[in-house]
Amino acid sequence: MPVASFSKEIFVDTRLFPTLSLELFNEFLRIVLENLKHGVVAKNKYSKAAEALKVDIDTITKSVQSLSEVIIVMVGKQVQTENDVKQSLLSLSFIEDHIKAFTEVYSTNYKDLRQMLTTMSLRMPHYHNLDWRLDVQVASRCLRNHVKPSFMLQLEIKDANDQPQYHLLESDHATLSHLCDKLEDALKQSQSTHTKRIARYTQ
């Protein structure tokens, strides 16, 4: 039953919300979700809201940022059930109506936000494509009339920024079949009892 707890700065920055009406709070929620999905809006777009509420632009920006942080911390800790959401928000002194509106928006967007967060974590260079061909060398400058088969492999790897890197490799049949055996062994390990036990415990 994960319940999120928040830092002191968030307590300070969310003081604006209990003073707002439900409509305005929904507007804030909408802006926060836009920011999370499409990137941060420029500060000068908050000027209208700042004038209407009679606070300065900084306060609005901080409130939007703190609400985004609240959502991200809760998605990160896998807060899912309504009760958990309520308990997490109680510590921030949100009004009942606001909590209901928040819970609705949160549960509809939970899956998308969770997927977005997984793609943003640390990425190692990862496999993208393997191209291969089988060549037979029939002659060279020094030696004619021989038969020498070999495999040419091109391993395409994408690094953390999705930039492709190409590695060209050559191999003979014995090395390639040894490589395949080792990789199949590695795959079989994922079906072993030890791995299954660990998978059971972590879920």
């Binding site: 061909r133 029939v138 400058r141 091109q154 492709p164």
Partner: protein, 198 residues
């Protein structure tokens, strides 16, 4: 069951599972969708809106996952048959063995027959390759003198090779180098010897 269009190996299970989805379509629609799939295989892109129109009708409704499955199945059939150089009649017989209705089999066979050669040509252009020569530029200079020798008086050849590497993103690069007359003669005789062996 081992099929020749799968390279004498077992037909993948997902393909056999999609046979029933594919059987629900009419042969005319299968032919039009196959044309789109072949356009994609030939690198001309897939017009998804056309495929959408062809997969919605009053008689049957296909979900997005079904449309994807149909496209994947047709893509696999055409790609695999062209890869293993299967003739039309063989493909027709094997598709019938998978349980696909005869009219759909003949629609796929006709599309395959027309496009087999262009498909194989396109696929052979995509084979993994090292940088390829596009163009050769040459120039013969006569060196008069330099800072190390007052009177040099020797000819030299300058070669500029334009290379492209389609397997690594079609980047173009230029390789420029210089040779004196003797080295150039050796290079030409070696290349002629290699040419004879081809």
């Amino acid at each position: 069951m081992k099929f020749r269009f799968c390279g004498d190996q077992d037909c993948p299970d997902w393909l056999l599972a999609e046979i029933s989805t594919l059987s629900k379509m009419s042969s005319v629609r299968v032919k039009l969708i196959s044309r789109q799939v072949l356009n994609q295989l030939l690198g001309k892109g897939l017009n998804y809106s056309k495929v959408q129109k062809l997969t919605t009708s009053k008689r049957f409704t296909f979900e997005v996952s079904d449309v994807k499955a149909i496209l994947a199945a047709l893509h696999f059939i055409f790609f695999s048959s062209a890869k293993y150089d299967i003739s039309e009649t063989e493909l027709f017989k094997e598709l019938q063995q998978t349980g696909l209705p005869t009219d759909i089999c003949s629609a796929i066979r006709n599309c395959y027959g027309i496009n087999k050669l262009p498909l194989r040509q396109h696929m052979s252009a995509q084979i993994l390759s090292r940088p390829r020569l596009l163009e050769t530029e040459w120039r013969v200079d006569y060196l008069l003198s330099s800072s190390s020798i007052q009177e040099l008086n020797s000819p030299s050849v300058r070669l500029n090779l334009h290379l492209t590497n389609p397997s690594q993103g079609k980047t173009q690069e230029q390789l420029a180098f210089e040779l004196n007359a003797d080295k150039f003669r050796v290079l030409i005789s070696e290349l002629r010897a290699a040419r004879v062996l081809m």
